[in-house]
Amino acid sequence: MLNDIPLEHFVIISAVLFCAGLFAVLTKKNAIMVLIGIEMMLNAAILNLVTFGAFDKHKNEGQVFALFAIVLAAAGVAVSLAIILNVYRQFKTIDPSKIEEMKY
């Protein structure tokens, strides 16, 4: 089944997904939505990894990378959520466009 679908399609899907995630990260007024965007971008990357793994001569190398990436993403989300909670406690908002403290 996999072999019927050409590689380009996966890559295109992944790119679209990545762009959608990127767009969400850059534009959303809610930090949670930004996190979701990040997840989408990670998923795009993982999709790429899986896809390239399918075409790989070594067995399941891409899948292993993907599992690592998922674990990392979960860890990242845990840290991110903690940051967001602290940001909210500090600024009473989680709108990233209103938090300008990263200048300094």
């Binding site: 990260v25 850059l26 990263m102 200048k103």
Partner: protein, 673 residues
């Protein structure tokens, strides 16, 4: 022979006499204002002690050994100069004369200068003047004489300009100083010639002691003539001889007592004294020059004195004339007679000035009392003072008779000796001029006496409603004048009132050895007829003056006559000098000023402007190009910084967008290159 070069009682006394006036000058000069009576007693007492010391010197030196005291002074290897004092008959005589007359003048001044604003300054400067003159008299080398000579000029400058707030006094002292400088330069040149010739300036070595000749007598060259004339030029300026006489009449701007001192014993006598000192230096040609200049001066000054209206100016020209007689006597080789005349003249001329001072002083008082405005020195305003000031009149008459050279008075003794010598000399011009001078002298001095003391009081005529009666001066002034009047008679000079050849002054002074110039032998006949004719002439002149100014029956030249104007304007010497020297000099100074302002300053200013312009260009380049570049660079960096700063919004999403953009850029660029 020179007795010793060690300090003895006599040289010590002379040194004391020299130093005391200097001390007096310093004490009064520094503390005069704080001292009681402003320190005049210091000047008088010190001068008197100086006189006593001088008398001691005189008694122990006259007709005895020459006393000499000297110390090594400058040693330059080739030329060794010593400094010291040397007292021979001439110096001793001058020493006593100068200190005696100064003492009298100082006592007189205590009354005459009373109430003067700078009273202590007067006494201090007079002491300096005395010190300088004594230095000239005592110095044993020409260099020392020159130093004191300059001091005499300087202190006379101070005294002539005593009333320095008057413009005329300030101009007069400058004139005196500058004219004297002309002579001083010549004098200095003479000294230098002698120094290079003989390697010494010691008077005793140069000119010999007591009849034994010095090195000058043994080397008769033309250089000596030149050196002699140079030194004589110095004497010409100091003694106010033609053609450098113009300062002396103007010097009347000083107080009358100062004039008295200058004219009697100090400044003008210094010239004659110097001529006497260096006498062996003069060759026959130089002596002829001296004789002619002296005779010419005496005649010129006497002719000017005939018409002057200023009381003191008449006396000033009289001094010039008498000094001319002395110089002429020097020139014809009558060395002792010239000095004898210097001594006698000192007393009666001092007396004449003090008498004139007394008159002026009292008229000044009258002027002050009634708040009148007239010139207290103008003889045209005087008259009839015989009754008001009898003592002044009496002593003035004595001095006038002495000046006229009438028998029984001192002037007769010395002047007739000179005339007798003159008539037996080879130059015929000299005796003629001198005889004319004596004739003129009697006339002008009695014109003065008649105008001032006889006839009616013109001031009373001018101010009829005021009681303008001057009274006799106080005892200090009259006392000193009486002493001088006694000294103006024959009695202290010679036992024989008719003939001065055996006077102690003449006997004591012997003509220095001068192998080139054999002393002239007086003609036997001249000794008889010269005195008789001159006395007769003088008496005739006095009678003429009496007719003209007392009886008002004779008139001579009208005021519009050429000769009158020529005499009245002092032979137009001032005008001549103004045209010949002063105006060209002023024009030259004007040109130099123009040159300085336009050319020198122009160059300087031009250079300054050039530098300024150049720096303006540099400034522009610096400001616009260099600073522009630096500022532009800074601006650019700032702009770039600002540009990049704009990216730093502090928002996490922007950073991320930029990161993505950067990523894209890197990818795109890596594809292109």
């Amino acid at each position: 022979m020179i007795e010793t070069v060690q300090l003895t009682m006599i040289t010590g006394a002379a040194l004391l006499a020299l130093v005391l006036p200097l001390l007096s000058f310093l004490i009064i000069g520094f503390w005069g204002n704080q001292l009681p009576r402003k320190g005049d007693w210091i000047a008088v007492s010190f001068t008197f002690i100086s006189f006593v010391a001088s008398s001691y010197c005189f008694i122990n030196t006259w007709n005895q050994k020459v006393h000499h005291f000297s110390i090594n002074w400058l040693n330059t290897g080739i030329i060794k100069l010593s400094a010291g004092i040397s007292i021979d008959n001439l110096a001793a005589l001058m020493l006593v004369l100068v200190t005696f007359i100064t003492t009298l003048v100082l006592i007189y001044s205590m009354e005459y200068m009373k109430g003067e604003r700078y009273y202590h300054r007067y006494f201090s400067h007079l002491s300096l003047f005395l010190f300088s003159m004594l230095g000239v008299v005592l110095a044993d080398s020409l260099l020392l004489i020159y130093i004191f000579w300059e001091l005499v000029g300087f202190s006379s400058y101070l005294l002539i300009g005593f009333w320095f707030d008057r413009d005329t006094a300030a101009a007069a002292n400058k004139k005196a100083f500058i004219v004297n400088r002309i002579g001083d330069i010549a004098f200095f040149v003479g000294i230098m010639i002698l120094l290079t010739q003989f390697r010494t300036l010691d008077l005793n070595i140069l000119f010999g002691v007591e009849g034994s000749g010095g090195i000058v007598q043994h080397s008769s060259t033309h250089i000596n003539t030149i050196a002699g004339l140079c030194i004589f030029a110095g004497a010409v300026a100091k003694s106010a001889q033609f053609p450098l006489h113009v300062w002396l009449p103007d010097a009347m701007e000083g107080p009358t007592s100062v004039s008295s001192l200058i004219h009697a014993a100090t400044m003008v006598a210094a010239g004659v004294y110097l001529t006497a000192r260096v006498f062996p230096l003069f060759s026959p040609e130089a002596l002829n020059v001296i004789a002619i200049i002296g005779a010419l001066t005496s005649f010129m000054a006497a002719s000017i004195a005939l018409t002057q209206n200023d009381l003191k100016k008449v006396l000033a020209y009289s001094t010039i004339s008498q000094l001319g007689i002395m110089m002429a006597a020097m020139g014809i080789g009558a060395w002792p007679m010239a000095l004898f005349h210097l001594v006698t003249h000192a007393f009666f001329k001092c007396l004449l000035f003090l008498g004139a001072g007394s008159v002026i002083h009292q008229l000044h008082h009258v002027q002050h009392k009634h708040h009148l405005d007239f010139d207290p020195q103008d003889m045209r305003l005087m008259g009839g003072l015989k009754k008001d000031m009898p003592i002044t009149y009496a002593v003035f008459l004595v001095a006038g008779l002495a000046l006229s050279g009438l028998p029984l008075f001192s002037g007769y003794l010395s002047k007739d000796l000179i005339l007798i010598e003159a008539w037996s000399s080879k130059l015929i011009l000299v005796p003629v001029l001198l005889t004319l001078t004596t004739v003129f002298t009697s006339f002008y001095i009695f014109r003065l006496i008649f105008k001032v003391f006889w006839s009616e009081n013109k001031l009373a005529g001018l101010y009829p409603d005021l009681n303008v009666k001057p009274h006799e001066s106080g005892s200090l002034m009259t006392g000193t004048m009486i002493v001088l009047a006694v000294c103006s008679t024959f009695i202290i000079f010679s036992f024989n009132p008719m003939h001065g050849t055996h006077s102690w002054v003449i006997e004591g002074l012997k003509t220095p050895v001068n192998p080139l110039n054999s002393p002239s032998v007086a003609l036997e006949t001249a000794e008889l007829w010269v005195p008789i004719t001159t006395v007769l002439f003088s008496l005739a002149m006095i009678y003429l003056a009496f007719r003209a100014y007392v009886q008002q029956k004779a008139t001579f030249l009208s005021e519009h006559n050429f000769f009158y104007k020529f005499s009245f304007n002092a032979w137009y010497f001032d005008q001549l000098y103004a045209v010949l020297f002063v105006q060209p000099l002023m024009r030259f100074a004007g040109f130099v000023k123009w040159f300085d302002v336009k050319v020198v300053d122009g160059i300087v200013n031009g250079a300054a402007n050039l530098v300024l312009g150049f720096s303006a260009i540099i400034d522009w380049i610096d400001r616009n190009i260099i600073d522009g570049f630096v500022n532009g660079l800074a601006l650019l960096v700032g702009k770039i910084g600002n540009f990049f700063r704009g990216f730093q919004t502090g928002r996490v999403q922007n950073y991320m967008a930029l990161g993505v953009l950067g990523l894209i850029l890197i990818v795109v660029l890596s594809y292109i290159f």
